[in-house]
Each structure stands twice: as structure tokens, then as C-alpha cells.
Amino acid sequence: MNTEVLLGNEVIALGLVEQGCRVVTAYPGTPSSEILPSVAKYKKQFNRQVYLEWSINEKVAFEVALAASWVGLRAAVAMKQVGLNVASDPFFSAAYTGIKGGFIVIPADDPGPYSSQTDQDSRLTALAAKVPVFDPSSPAEARAMIKEALMLSEEFHIPIMLRPITLLCHALQSISMKEPPALNDSIPTIKFQRDPQRWTATPKLRNLLRLKLNTKLAQIEAEFEKASFNYIFNESSSEKAGIIASGVAFHTTKQVLNNLGVELPILKIGTPYPLPQKLIKNFISNYQIVLVLEEPDACVEWQIPNRDQIRGRLDGTVPSKGELSPEVVSSILIKILKMTNCKITPPSDGRELQAFIKDLPLQMYTSRLCPGCAHRSAFFGIKREFGSKAIYPGDIGCYTLGTNLRAVDTVVNMGASVGMAQGFFQANQLVEDKRPILATIGDSTFLHSGVAPLINAVHTGARFVLIILNNHITAMTGFQPTCESEVLADGSNAACKIAISDLVRACGVDFIQEVDPYDHEMFRKTLRQAYNYSLTPRGSVAVVIAKRPCVIYDPSFIYKTPVPVVITEECNGCRYCMKAFECPALIFNKEKNRVDIDYKICVNCGQCINACSKGHIIPRHQNTAKRSLANEQLSAINNS
């Protein structure tokens, strides 16, 4: 049998394609981003007709896939957990309308969180939306669940959620690659059929649909009582404590028990909603204490009606935040075992070693913009021009790291910089705060959800500067194309490239200037013009589009015109450049009390030349020139 090593997200994609999903949509978001490109890979490998796309945002992605399901095709939509917030409107509605072709919603949760605004539990969103949930414990199980989920979805005409977490999405597992099931390669001849009772249900009909939904959920719960993904491991009625574990927590629990040299019965739950109540009740009745392990929040635990014997998040046994790492699970289990007077040899205490390591002067790392990043130049320019007496609403992307340069004051959710800027304007009018407001947003984020708030701001006459940081790619999540790109998710040509400047003009904005953020003088001049415009009687939102490609995705401009730099002997170690410009290639030399360039990571963008107002950072070819001459040449470069 052919065995492959696959990433969890690849296995999910494999499951979708081999089970005949014909339309798969997504918006990039860690930890889900690898799913869609893997669908493209398997589409090609198995030669299947599949339509796949990076949608402009998760709501649109959901709606595109939903329509395909209503036609009768199997479909899926993938996103990160906060992306489900964006898709919530159609998500909640679709539970009532139901679906036709099997429909799977895949929000990838991020316990911690490691790279998200929240560590919310998508299973709870599904509970509120009345959508059944599969919680896979491993990539291999996710693949098996996709098969069952699609069948269940079609049997009961209901969307189904498959909820992986980061540790599953980015796990590598050995997977056996049997030939994909011999699905009928021809597209089903079913076409979209009118069904006003469902597809156009107005509130009166929704009442009936709600009754039907309740019935479906009860029937599905009955199915889940016998689901193969729920089973008891190490069944024993002689123990005083049992464990209920949902998803990945099941295998972590097994691992930790093994390391403790203890055996406890575990009820594995793969279908946390609707919770199979009989199964749960029977299990609990055998033990004095039952520990519930799941993450990132309680979901199974909330659904257990009588929690007298239950220990978990709700009573504080399980920490209310943070991942269920093996170490956390181990300390919880030791607590439980002590409660039941079970004799165990506690593992060697690693605290002494941890404390020792903490005190060592190991290098600390912080998240920073890459050397050469145009966003750094933009934020530096913004800060130099407007200083600390301004308000800087920010947004979500690599440029969130503008906060390191103290040029980002707010980060809430995708597209919020525009709405917040408007909000600050109106509020400041009331409190008579005249500080300039300069909002920053990326190109992909602007397209995602920055357009509507911009129209709103212009329509209501808000006055602020919006800087769209256009590096022509969705960088943070791994360089996915945007609606401005020439190519689509599968590499084919886009039917039409959207130009952001055209879009901004259509929003009613009168002041639009495109400028290169590398051109420090011109960028600051443009910002000042934009701000001044926004103060004029007929002025409103002014938009500056900072255009320069992502230096990691497209470094060609660096190769074309590299600007190697040196820091002169005159550097006195004031470190203004490090604080205000913050390039990782600027390092402090303690012995000599000066700043040096780390040439291993410097990309020769030359932008730090602007960062020393005393002119101690100069192009390398000027190194032998006298200082005054160097300054002259510097000005010449800046003015050209």
C-alpha cells in the first residue's frame, strides 16, 4: 500500500476531492490556508472537475459554495475561526434553509491563540447556529469524517461543520493512499430547482423550517449515538475516574496517561454537537468523577445537563485559557488522580530546569516586519510626518506590526481601520480633539471589508487619511492572490483585474494619490497634502495608496537596484534608528556603543539611510567621501 506523509490540511483537501466535492472556496487564514492550494493539487492529480477559488472574503466564499450545494453539487468552504465570524450571516441562515449537495464548513480553530484575534471555539458557533459538528482527532480521522459528514449532510439536508485545530492542520501524518473511491466522474445531471419553501423562505416559513431543523437535530443525535468516531478506550468500571475527550485532546490524553504509567477509561467524542446524550450518561454513571477535555473552550461540557460529577473548564479544573499541551493535560490528570487517591509516581519536576533556562541570556525574538518591507518605510514616513500627536487606526495583516513603530493604535478585525477611523472622527468632533487621524490597511484586507466602511465614511463627511498599503499580495498568510492579481487560485488567468484606485474613486473619494513608500520625501509630502485636503471645506476622506511589492514575494526590485549601506564611524549609539525604524538588520554593538548592520539579513534596500537624521547611515559607495559631501549627495538622491 502506498503511504504518503501529508500535512493535516492536505489530508482535509484529499478528503474533499476524493469524496466528490465540485466547488471549494476559501479565504486565507492561519491555520487553514493550505487547504485550498491542496485541493488544486488533488484536482490535478486525480483529474477531477472542481471549481476552486480564493474569494474576496469568507461571507462571499460561503455564498458561492452554498449556491453550488443548492444546485445539487457537493461543496465546501474553508477559513480560520474568525473568518467564520465574517461568514456567520449565511452560516446561520443555511441551517434553516438546508442544503442539497453535501455541504461542509471548515473553520480551523487556533487554541492559544497563536495567530488570531481570539481563541474562540467554532463548535460553539455551530451550537448556536444548530449545525452538527465533527471534531477530528487526527488528519487521518478528518479524512474519514469528511466521507461521513457529506453523507449525513445529504441525508438530512443540513450543512455540517468539520472543525480542525492548528495542531491538526499543521501536523504531518503517514496516510495510506489507496486509489480515490471510484466516484462517477460525470457531473450529476441535476440542475437547480425552485423550492420556495426552503430557498426563499420568509419568516413565516422559517418558523416551519425551525421545527424541521429541531427534528433533524434529534435524528442526527440518534445517529451520533452509534457513530464510529465516538468510542470508549480502556473501558473499565473499576476506576473511580473517567475522561471524556473531544478531538485532538483524545490522543494527547492517551499519550499523557501512557507517560504517567496509568490507565483510565476515555470516552472519545468525535461528534460534539449534537452531543450523544445516552452515550455520555451511560459513561458518567460508571465513575465518581469524569474529567472533560476539549479545546479551546467548553462545548461538550456545556451540553451535559447534570454536571455534579463533571470536572472541566466550568469548575476551573481545566485552565480557562491556553492550549491543552501535554504538560497542561498532565498536571490536570495528576490533580484528578490525587482526587481519586490513585497511586502514581509523579514525573520528574522540570521546573528547576525551566527556571534555570529562563535566567540564561538567550536571544529573545519578537515579531517584526522583514528587512526591506515597504510597510516599514510607510510607517516610518507616517510617524516622521505626524509624530505621536495623531491617532492611528490599524488593521490585520503583516502591517499590524506597525505597532512596533508606534504607528498602529487599534487592531480589532478585518477592515476595522476604516470604520474605526470614521468613528474616531465623529467622537473627536464631540470631545473637540483635533488630532489627525491616519488609518492603515492592506490591499487584500481593503478588498475583503474596507470598501463598505469607506463609502460610509465619505457619505457622512468624515475627515481622515486612509493609507492603503498595497504590496499586491496577501502576504501574511502565505502570498495568496487578490482580486487585483492576474491569476486565480488554480493558476488560470483572472477574467478582470480590479484596480484599487478605481474602486476608491467609485467610493466617492476625491483625493487619491499613488506613491512609492520607499520615496521618503515624496511619501511624506503626499501624506501632508492628503491631510490638508481632508481639512478643506469640501474635503473628506483622503486616500494615499502606498505601492511597492512585498520584498519576500517579489524581491526583483532589490536585485535591480540594490543600495548597500554602511554606518559611519560617527555613529554615537543613540539607537534612534533602531527605535524609530526597527529593521532587524540594525543591531547594537555593545562593546563599541554603536549600531551595526547585520549583513547576513540586510537586503540592501537602503531605506535605513532615512532613519538617521544625523546622516550616519550612508550608501556604501560613499563611505570614503567627506561627511559634508555625503550629505550633499544624500539630498541629491532624495530629491531625484
Binding site: L167, H251, Q255, G350, I357, L360, Y365, P584
Partner: protein, 195 residues
Amino acid sequence: MNNYQPSTTHKVIFTGLGGQGIVFLTRLFAQTAVALGYPVMASEIHGMSQRGGPVISHFKIGNDQAPLVQQGTADLMIALKADEAVRNLPFLRRGGVIFVNKEKGLVKEVQPHLERLNITVYSLDASSLAAKLGDARRANVVMAGFVIAHSLLPFSLEIMQEIMIKKFSRSAALNIQAMKVGFETGQSMLHKDSD
């Protein structure tokens, strides 16, 4: 070829900085294990400080489907940066082994802890060896060869080189060489020890 015994388990931590090829190493070891018939489970930890920041991956041979290696249970740690080896010491079990890319051993302060926990350290200046071959970034592959020479994992040099050609064909020639250099250096160091 199927050498798998159901009781076989190996737990490995790979660590270093972003850009040193930790993910590549993890996948290379995983593919090699799978080719020999072993079940594999690994986790790539994509931290936020990825651009040059610490990267760690967990790698397990065996039936355990938990994604991570629990602290205090790793058999081996393969570190491409000495600081990262120290930072991640808590993962090793008593009697564990560290393979570190460094000219000399780990910092003096760590020695008492290494002795207390009976941890063995094998150092290799893999970066210099890789640089001599023309690309310092191949240090990760040099380390792979070095690790195999110590026979703590059920891999032979030949099988890993075969996997390199089959599954990681881009610049396989240079990687094969780098692996060989690491392997031969490891072997000669072992023979020196046993003299």
C-alpha cells in the same frame, strides 16, 4: 521494506531558527521512516516570529497519534542552533541525546543539568562543513547524516539518500554529498571515542 515492530517508538525534537530548514529536515525524516514502514506523526510549529525566529518541530515514530512530544520524553534533539538546544532542553528525557550544530559543546552553565539528567551531547560544526561544500544553508542535511551515523534511529544512510532523490529531487546531488560528509564525520568521531 518493512522493519516496523509495533513497540518501536522514537521521539525527536528538531529545533533552530526560521530559514535553517527545520521543516525540510522533519519531512525528510518522516518520508524516510514511512518508506521503512513506520507510522509517523509530526508537528510543524509555525510561530509568529518565524522570520528568523525560533522554529520547533516534533517528530514521532510509532502508533501515538498525539501531535506533540511531551516535555521530558524526547529521545533525541537535533538542534541547528545551540541557543535553541538550550532553550528546548526540557523536552529531553533522562538519558536523552542532543545533536547540535556548533563547533564546541553547549554553554558551560548547562553542564551540571546535562550531567544530572545523563544527557549526551554530540556537536558538529555543520555550518562550516556545509559552507566548504558551497552552501552553508545545507547544514541541516549535514546534521541529518551526522545523526544517522550514531545509529539511534532505524535509518541507514543509503535509504535516506534514496528518499532524498525520490522525494526531494531539487538539488539532490549537493544534499547527498552534504549528508555523506555529516555521516562520515560522525563515524570518524565515534571511532575516535572508542579508541
